[in-house]
């Protein structure tokens, strides 16, 4: 562990410090948005958005190899696909609720397949693994600024509209009778999640974004008394999991993203098992 602390202050390896700052910034998004994803039960939607992102990255890389202008970056491709997927799923969800899971799974598979096809047709070797599982040590200063900006936006929105978000998540029908624009709240949430997924997948990759949006919040849900508490606890857990995972992965020379998710997953499973056993004991007595 001492090696990790030394690396943090060693100016010749700035990427370790960037990874730590990135983990802290990401923890707010994982904690706050993860709590909303969990209580609104839209993890499937977030999963579909994140997997569609691979299609956008593949298309952007493919176009760039065919002489597209420089601004056609993987990040832009990812953003466009994420927002399109978010809007499409929202539209189906609002107009025909019963078709929602079909569309979610269709986009999930189509997005990934598109990505694989485009990457295969892009000259030179592009490793899809780096997009699926990310590399937190490759985070740039620009990524950090973007993340910090999104953190500020999300925090401002949640603090200002907390009661409205809480009501719309708990009982959409009642919130609507009180004049809360529930559809707008839902769309804003889904779009913010789409943008967050695009920024976060550079850290932990497409597959693991979903894990981090659900596991810390799911664990926090076991011992939080309200939505605000769940957001704070999930943020703290994300922080512990990402910094802890980073240190462990550095020490044992393991892929950072995977270690962070395994740590989060282990704690979530331990809490679920503990809760189940406690419930059984209560039922028996």
């Amino acid at each position: 562990m001492g090696g990790f602390l030394q690396a943090l202050v060693n100016p010749s390896v700035p990427f370790v410090r960037n990874a730590l700052i990135g983990s802290v910034l990401a923890a707010f998004l994982f904690g706050i948005l993860g709590s909303l994803v969990t209580v609104r039960r839209i993890a499937g939607l977030a999963g579909a958005i994140s997997h569609t992102v691979l299609g956008g990255i593949g298309l952007a890389l493919f176009l760039a190899s065919r002489g597209a202008p420089k601004w056609v970056s993987p990040m832009l491709g990812a953003l466009v696909f994420a927002i399109l997927a978010a809007l499409l799923i929202s539209l189906v969800s609002l107009k025909a609720k019963q078709r929602e899971d079909t569309v979610i799974n269709a986009l999930w598979a189509i997005g990934m397949s598109l990505g694989v096809v485009f990457l295969a047709k892009t000259p030179g070797y592009v490793d899809p693994m780096s997009y699926l599982f990310g590399n937190i040590l490759l985070v740039t200063s620009q990524d950090l600024y973007l993340l910090a900006a999104l953190d500020v936006i999300v925090l401002l929105l949640v603090v200002r509209y907390y009661r409205h978000i809480e009501a719309a998540s708990f009982d959409e029908e009642f919130a609507a009778t009180k004049g809360v624009p529930v559809t707008a709240v839902y769309l804003a949430l889904v779009l913010v999640i789409a943008v967050a997924i695009v920024l976060l997948q550079t850290f932990v990759g497409i597959v693991m974004v979903i894990a981090m949006l659900t596991l810390p919040a799911g664990t926090a849900g076991y011992f939080s008394h309200n939505l605000a508490g769940m957001m704070v606890n999930a943020t703290l857990l994300s922080l512990v999991f990402s910094v802890g995972g980073l240190a462990v992965s550095w020490h044992f020379d393991l892929p950072a993203g995977a270690v962070i998710v395994l740590l989060s997953g282990a704690v979530f499973i331990a809490f679920s098992a503990g809760k189940m056993l406690a419930g059984r004991r209560l039922a028996r007595s």
Binding site: R41, R160, F170, F174, A175, K178, G179, P181, H225
Partner: protein, 276 residues
């Protein structure tokens, strides 16, 4: 918010039979359908201020749909719904709604107090904290759930949860309280306690409650409206007579009940005699 201008305008257009502040609900020639499925066709009725109305009808007849039209969650395809002379969306503050809330998620972390606090919301405007606290405490006491205020909502019994939802609807001091089958799946004791809470508001607040039992309704009811009971008119709302019910065991129905005479239809102006 000042809604006097639209109220006056709407009242002029439809010629309400009484002053708009005395007509809690006014439905005129209402039609509604979900895609191709017709639910209502030329439905007209009205409810006076302070009346206690039981809305009966079989499952799927359209009771919930009618309530949603009245609270402004749905828009009629034709005709008009006015609440105190204004469209429901313009009088958010006047309406307290208690939905069925059957899709409640037990994993949602929330305390009773916070559920009730939602009743103070009005659009996207911020909620004044002190005012909110006073109203929330008042509503918690009215619905007899003050002692439960710190408890997680998911830890309550079904009957307690329904009363919490009533408290939430009461927070804004509504003039019209709309409840969607609030006592379904409730035992007789809880049901009695529930109607005891509602009794306090009889006369001052207009109450519209949909009930699952269509032969007997709470004795608090002044009026019974029946949705789609008539085979010849499945998409209609009729006013039916009520009479004292003898020999009905209280432990089955939770409180005093009256019998609904579905065979006696009353004219829509049956309630108007002697009213302003």
């Amino acid at each position: 918010m000042d809604h006097s201008a639209p109220q006056a305008q709407a009242a002029d257009e439809v010629h309400l039979p009484h002053a708009p502040e005395n007509v809690a609900i006014w439905c005129q020639n209402l039609a509604f359908h979900y895609r191709e499925v017709e639910v209502f066709n030329s439905v007209s009725f009205h409810v006076h201020r302070g009346e206690f109305v039981a809305l009966t009808g079989k499952n799927g007849a359209g009771k919930s749909t009618l309530l949603k039209l009245i609270v402004g969650l749905l828009e009629p395809a034709q005709g008009q719904v006015l609440v105190f002379g204004a469209s429901p969306r313009r009088c958010i503050e006047s309406i307290g709604y208690v939905p069925q809330h059957t899709g409640f998620d037990a994993a949602f972390p929330i305390r009773v107090e916070e559920v009730v606090g939602m009743g103070r919301l009005s659009g996207l405007s911020p909620v004044a904290k002190r005012q909110k606290q006073e109203d929330v405490e008042w509503a918690l006491r009215q619905a007899e759930v003050y002692d439960l205020r710190e408890r997680p909502f998911s830890a309550l019994s079904g009957g307690q949860r329904r009363r919490v939802l009533v408290a939430r609807a009461l927070v804004g001091h509504p003039k019209l309280l709309v409840l969607d089958e609030p006592t379904s799946n409730m035992d007789a004791d809880s049901e009695k306690k529930f109607y005891d809470v509602l009794e306090r508001f009889k006369g001052n607040t207009t109450v519209l409650v949909a009930t699952h039992d269509s032969d007997f309704v709470s004795a608090l009811a002044d009026t019974v409206l029946c949705v789609g009971q008539d085979v010849d008119h499945p998409h209609s709302v009729h006013r039916h007579a009520i009479e004292q019910a003898e020999n009905v065991p209280e432990d089955i129905y939770g409180g005093k009940v009256v019998r609904v005479r579905h065979d006696i239809e009353l004219p829509d102006n049956a309630c108007c005699e002697g009213k302003e």
